[in-house]
Symmetry: C2
Subunit: 360 residues, 2 copies
């Protein structure tokens, strides 16, 4: 049976290969990437659709775009950082960048007012994007609540190109506000191809696996429209474990590392909460070794904080053999995170001012 | 059982009293109307909701509004004229007037392009409104595809205030484009109360009985929103028989009198198609009499073309007694229609120019 993916709920994925097969996701051919990135090389980005369209456009010097949406709820954490880094990755590859602030969606599905959403989007999300390296001048931001007429109308037109049976088979239980949100998302994904944005072109959307249904539906709808939309491309990110092993959540401060965390907070969270692949006793650990595959500190090093492949390999091997203890692994991780955050938080102050000047 | 009313299909209503009971529609108290109109006095408008709010606002010299939508499909016929006359009735009573051109809805539910819709709205509908007496300067027109941001967002926000169970119980079978249309309609009905239009106030919507579900849903949704919307008022119009007894349809030129018809067309249509309440033979007619209640010519005289109550009564009695023959009734009706259309078509030429100057 095909696993249902519900973008509004948290869920686990046990078998990414099955997801790839069920949802038509392809493996990324690293040899074809002109620019590498650890998200790709270390497998956090587990697959793609039509990424070759982007690479071809780049090769042929034709226009292509990157599109993403941000849900302005809660504080910016490591999960958000992945999306931001991929945005920057594609921007540096030469993509026009489009960012939708999902304020209508956050009102409909999370009861966040447009005013709160605006504040969070600007002060928390955009500021962090800029601090991470996004070039604001080459990025088109818009709020779902203040999009152009062409965009607003598209979010209604798309309703004509699907059925409730199709929507139910994709999303399971529906509510009117979920359906409205879905149509807005479809319009967001097609937004870079509106005539006001220069018309049809390849567009890549870097998304978490939870957004897979939106991508597939958008491609199907685009295909059914009397228009020249190029079916959007996407890269898909695995679910990143929260500190305690579950989901990262902005509403549980101990579930995630936030990019605004102080060194003491990072130390406390990693020591107290970071799920460990180590053994119950020192003796057992030294005898049987730890399991880096389920160890949150190791995962964070792998995907975020240890760019050096040799060093990472060494840590992994020592941990597996039981030579590296959980406490030591945590200490190293804390040091690496805090070193990154120190630099990042310096940039963040400047970035906030920049964003405020830019967005009226 | 409550009759389902489907705004997207034609249907018959056998018992208006039952509709009134089932849908909470009240009788119009003619004594309370400061200004009479044959649509009210002769019962074509069969009921209302909260009309007293409008009459009170008028009495207390507080602002109130009239709102209507037009579906820009096909040629302007007598059914459209009723709405137009009621718009003018409320405008002359002192209402601010709002008219939504339902171009998104006509695309979603009838596959009419925005361009076609725009042309039909301006050249056919608005021109006829003006020729019938609507004061363009005191009327706010807007296209659903070009409404303000506040309006566009409202059409999405309302999705949060209903459920699919409720929508199904009201409309029966749903499709995504119907649901989208419903939310746009709700936003249209609340549009005069947006902050950009001066905020909450009593608003009356003159509609055909087929639009009853939209009115009821809008009132329920308005009631559930954290806003100061006054629950909209409405007056409800009976289904007016087409020439052949069924529905008037823009797509069947022999089903209706269009306001652009030539005298010869009117003569041909009435003589050939107008459903008659007369008897099969002259002898039988003279013996048993005709039935004006089902006679389309008589109905048109009653609701449109014979303002003189005495004269109408005389025709009715003579027809019932068999003294007036079907041919004679038709001849009289043709004469009255053509006399009206002659005047109207003169005004229409000037009105078209006026509208084109007004709407860019």
């Amino acid at each position: 049976m095909k696993q249902k993916i519900d973008p509004w709920k948290s869920f686990e994925i046990k078998d990414y290969n099955k997801i790839m097969k069920d949802f038509g996701v392809e493996k990324i051919d690293l040899k074809k990437l002109q620019k590498k990135n650890i998200y790709f090389t270390r497998g956090l980005v587990f697959g793609h659709k039509d990424l070759q369209k982007i690479l071809e456009a780049k090769k042929k010097k034709k226009p292509f775009a990157m599109m993403t949406g941000l849900m302005p709820s809660g504080k910016f954490h490591l999960g958000h950082k992945v999306i931001a880094d991929l945005m920057i990755y594609f921007q540096e590859l030469g993509a026009e960048c489009y960012v939708a602030v999902a304020d209508i969606e956050s009102y409909l599905t999370r009861d966040i007012s447009l005013e709160e959403a605006r504040k969070a989007a600007i002060e928390e999300y955009l500021a962090n994007y800029v601090a991470l390296g996004l070039d604001l001048k080459k990025t088109k931001f818009y709020f779902q609540s203040s999009g152009s007429k062409e965009y607003m109308n598209l979010s209604k037109f798309v309703s004509k190109k699907t059925t409730f049976n199709e929507l139910k088979s994709i999303y399971g239980d529906l509510t009117p506000e979920k359906v409205t949100s879905v149509f807005i998302q479809v319009a967001d994904i097609l937004h870079p191809q509106l005539s006001e944005n220069g018309g049809s072109k390849p567009v890549v959307v870097p998304v978490g696996v939870d957004q897979l249904p939106h991508i597939n539906l958008t491609r199907d709808i685009a295909n059914r429209m009397k228009s020249n939309f190029v079916l959007p491309s996407a890269t898909f990110i695995k679910i990143i474990s929260g500190l305690k092993g579950g989901k990262m959540s902005s509403s549980d401060p101990n579930s995630a590392i936030f990019l605004s965390d102080s060194p003491a907070e990072v130390e406390r969270k990693i020591k107290k909460y970071a799920f460990s692949g180590g053994r119950a006793t020192l003796k057992e650990h030294q005898e049987k070794g730890g399991n880096p595959d389920i160890d949150v500190s190791f995962q964070y090093l792998k995907f975020f904080f240890e760019p050096n492949d040799e060093k990472l390999k060494e840590i992994e091997e020592k941990y597996r053999k039981g030579e590296l203890l959980t406490g030591q692994l945590k200490e190293y991780t804390i040091k690496k995170i805090n070193s990154f955050l120190k630099q990042h938080q310096k940039k963040l102050g400047r970035a906030k001012k920049k964003v405020k000047r830019y967005i009226k």
